[in-house]
């Protein structure tokens, strides 16, 4: 039996190394593992047991953090297969996607000039979400059906773009609401 500290995230959760996973199942396994190792279970135990419990809980938390997030999970699977992508890396020069990026950025920049900025922002957020989810399916296809691993890189990079855009949308929403109330 190997120590959980050296297992990869999928092994730790007894899950196959696949992109598609059942979220409810993941959550339940996370909860069960926490119940057996969390430091609160060892509050009155020896220092040594408390230390080990903390290390293992941190490891479980880290794995869960990665597995539950579609983008992080995709990047992690690529990492396991020898492809590392960092946060700052951007999409390859694909003219069509570049065009789309510029359009979305223009829409975001012009939100304040709309008649109902909050409603316009809602529409944009929904649009971003739809595209993000479409990329998730594309990534699942690329990672789980034995296709060329390179095909999984593009959707991941594009998801990173949408994720950043999503954050900017949320910031603008906060600013708009602050001004309103």
């Amino acid at each position: 039996m190997s120590s959980i500290l050296t297992q990869d995230h999928f092994e730790l959760f007894s899950l196959p190394q696949r992109y598609v996973l059942e979220r409810a199942e993941l959550d339940e396994r996370y909860r069960n593992m926490q119940r057996s190792v969390h430091p609160d279970r060892y509050a009155s135990a020896s220092d040594q047991e408390r230390r080990i419990s903390m290390q293992q809980t941190a490891k479980i938390n880290e794995a869960y953090e990665v597995l539950k997030d579609p983008l992080k999970r995709g990047r992690y699977l690529l990492h396991l297969r020898g492809y590392d992508i960092d946060d700052q890396q951007t999409t390859h020069q694909d003219p069509a996607f570049l065009m789309k990026q510029m359009e979305l950025r223009e829409t975001l920049a012009g939100i304040r000039e709309q008649a109902d900025p909050l409603q316009a922002l809602d529409r944009l957020a929904q649009d971003i979400l739809n595209q993000y989810q479409a990329l998730e399916s594309e990534l699942a296809q690329a990672l789980d059906s034995g296709e060329e691993i390179e095909l999984a890189v593009t959707p991941v990079l594009r998801m990173q773009f949408f994720k950043r855009l999503q954050e900017e949308v949320q910031e603008l929403e906060a600013d708009l609401e602050d001004e309103l109330y």
């Binding site: 959980i4 196959p16 909860r31 190792v37 609160d40 020896s46 040594q48 047991e49 293992q56």
Partner: protein, 624 residues
């Protein structure tokens, strides 16, 4: 209660022996202690039946001190030696304290660390010591009531407290001689008091309006996991402001000018507060005042009038509510329960407006002054091991991002806020000069880009890095945040395996040395013998380790250990048993460390088996 702890002869070390545990709400204005007795959590009163202990400590010329109502009564007469609101100073630097400004009349002096000290007739006192004196008072009360020594406590802290403030709170507990099982977020404690951790999953709002502060927290309960999604508030808004508004109205009615003398001012505020409390239950309140010229003024305040007076104030609390909801990414309608905390939520107008804002009636069954302490007591009871079958598990998140300073005074986030704790992250650094043997790291907490806008937590110096050419060393720095939200850092040079020595300089906290000195001083004062105490602590620790080990060996020693491993462990255990009876505390400490070292493998294997058991029934194939 002590009767329940009498055990059958020969069963005194039974594993399910009831351990005395308490929950402590260490508040800005008042503090409380609560405990679970006969399965029910209640706050414990003092000998005069008072549950609330004013968080006030007055230091006396003879070196002694008073805590609570007695100290509070003399606060205006002896302001420099009577410390109120020490909580506002916890984990803060002298600079922060100055910006808190005129509201604090004390004489501050700087100490060895950056933590400000308050000059009193009994000597200089840090906010940690003041808090420890409050905690000691509560500890005494609990031990007298429960009839024995406390085995552990849970202390609550505001959800937005940063690492320095949490560390300061834990230090205060240590200084008060308490075994702090856990620091628990106040809103989480309030939700636990209502048993919401057993309820259905969803979003919970905790609205906390105290005497001088307002906090709103949005929690998400997800399969037994409480996550603080967002917090907001106003650190200068509370019930005291309501009293002030009512007092102003009284002055206007009585035709009194603004510059009344001190005693009439106090009298006005007192009457205003009394009227406010009366109006929580009745439709009108009669007020009478003796004015400066000796004449008497009689007036009547109706509930409708009072509500009109305080309405703007309650409205002011709704803006942070809106902000918190937005930060949490939920709508008011998503909130399925609202928990009311703090004495000011007794005012019907507050309940009505909060209920109106969220679109449902708030929970008010538990005394809003006691609800946090009660929740803490429930958690303390579980952590002390009194409910081995209890499934309750509260997972917390880190409230503010942890980062380090990089080139140009910018922050680089290492652990983003709302990450579930405990958590560990590592980073790799290299040297930029040939033969470099040291480097410095500055850890900060906060969400802003610039280091100066974040809170400085600590500066670390890595020393003893093996001298190599520039860029050859690979130094792995590991950051670990424990279940209380407290940070620790370790570093190792990877190519040589050399453990770099880390010197921690907490920006606002106390160094370990300072805590030890304070502990020694406070013990000297109490007349207790330091050496005897340390020996006893080591013996207790030895017993704990031995007891846990023997129970484990009986259960599954044969399953996880071969004969050789078992012999090594038992040999080390025998040695510890022998030394434990002696009086050499260092030898006992060494023997404990030795035993822990040889049994690491065993503890590891047991814990892994635990996880496997949690996974039992699941196979990798199941989801193919």
């Amino acid at each position: 209660m002590a009767l329940l702890q009498i055990s059958e002869p020969g069963q005194t070390t039974a594993p399910h022996q009831h351990r005395l545990a308490a929950g402590i709400d260490l508040g800005t204005t008042n503090s409380l202690v609560a405990s679970v007795r006969s399965g029910v959590a209640n706050t414990l009163p003092d000998s005069e039946g008072r549950h609330l202990l004013p968080s006030v400590v007055r230091y006396l010329e003879d070196g002694g001190h008073q805590v609570g109502a007695d100290a509070k009564a003399l606060a205006t007469r002896d302001p420099l030696n009577t410390i109120i609101s020490a909580k506002r100073l916890m984990g803060r630097g002298l600079q922060d304290v100055k910006t808190l400004g005129s509201r604090l009349p004390y004489e501050f002096v700087s100490g060895e660390s950056a933590m400000p000290l308050i000059h009193t007739v009994a000597g200089d006192r840090s906010p940690v010591q003041v808090s420890a004196d409050i905690l000691k008072e509560l500890r005494q009360r609990a031990e007298n009531t429960l009839g024995g020594e406390l085995s552990g406590v849970v202390i609550t802290v505001p959800a937005y407290f940063d690492d320095a403030q949490r560390q300061a709170t834990k230090d205060a507990g240590k200084l008060a001689g308490l075994n702090v099982l856990r620091l628990l977020n106040e809103p989480t404690a309030a939700a636990v008091a209502y048993g919401l951790d057993r309820g259905r999953d969803g979003v919970i709002a905790v609205y906390d309006l105290g005497g001088g502060t307002f906090d709103i927290s949005i929690l998400r309960l997800n399969q037994g996991v409480f996550e603080v999604m967002a917090t907001a508030g106003d650190s200068a808004l509370g019930g005291d402001d309501m009293d002030r508004l009512i007092a102003l109205w009284m002055m206007e009615q009585a035709g009194v000018s603004d510059d009344v003398n001190h005693s009439l001012q106090r009298c006005l505020l007192h009457e205003a507060c009394a009227a406010k409390e009366t109006l929580s239950a009745r439709e009108d309140a009669d007020i009478s005042l003796v004015l400066e010229d000796g004449t008497q003024w009689q007036g009547r305040l109706t509930r409708a009038k009072m509500e009109a007076l305080i309405e703007p104030l309650v409205k002011k609390t709704l803006a942070p509510c809106r902000r918190a909801l937005r930060d949490a990414g939920v709508k008011g309608a998503d909130v399925q329960e609202i928990v009311m905390v703090g004495g000011s939520t007794r005012v019907p107008k507050v309940r009505a407006m909060v209920g109106g804002f969220f679109g449902r009636d708030p929970l008010v069954d538990i005394d809003p002054d006691k609800v946090v302490a009660i929740g803490a007591a429930v958690q303390a009871d579980v952590l002390a091991g009194n409910k081995p079958e209890d499934e309750m598990l509260l997972l917390d998140v880190i409230p503010l991002s942890l980062g380090i300073e990089t080139m140009g005074g910018l922050t680089e986030k290492i652990i983003p806020r709302n990450t579930t704790i405990p958590v560990a992250r590592a980073q790799e650094f290299t040297t930029f000069k040939d033969g470099q043997t040291a480097m410095a790291l500055h850890v900060v907490q906060g969400e802003r880009e610039l280091v100066d806008d974040c809170r400085s937590l600590a500066r670390f110096e890595l020393r003893d890095i093996p001298a190599m050419t520039a860029g050859a060393a690979r130094i792995r720095v590991s950051y670990q945040v424990d279940a209380d939200g407290l940070l620790s850092v370790t570093a190792e040079e990877q190519t040589s395996g050399v453990q770099a020595h880390i010197e921690v300089k907490p920006s606002y906290g106390l160094t370990d040395g300072e805590i030890e000195t304070m502990l020694r001083n406070s013990l000297d004062h109490a007349g207790e013998d330091m050496a005897a105490r340390q020996l006893r602590e080591q013996q207790v620790e030895a017993d704990r380790v031995l007891e846990a080990l023997q129970a484990a060996l009986r259960e599954d020693g044969d399953k996880f250990l071969n004969a050789e491993e078992r012999n090594a462990i038992e040999g080390a255990a025998d040695k510890l048993v022998r030394l434990r009876g002696g009086d050499d505390k260092r030898a006992i400490k060494k023997a404990i460390e030795k035993l822990e070292a040889v049994s690491t493998v065993y503890v590891d294997r047991r814990m892994n088996a635990n996880i496997q058991k949690a996974m039992a029934g699941h196979t990798v194939d199941e989801f193919k």
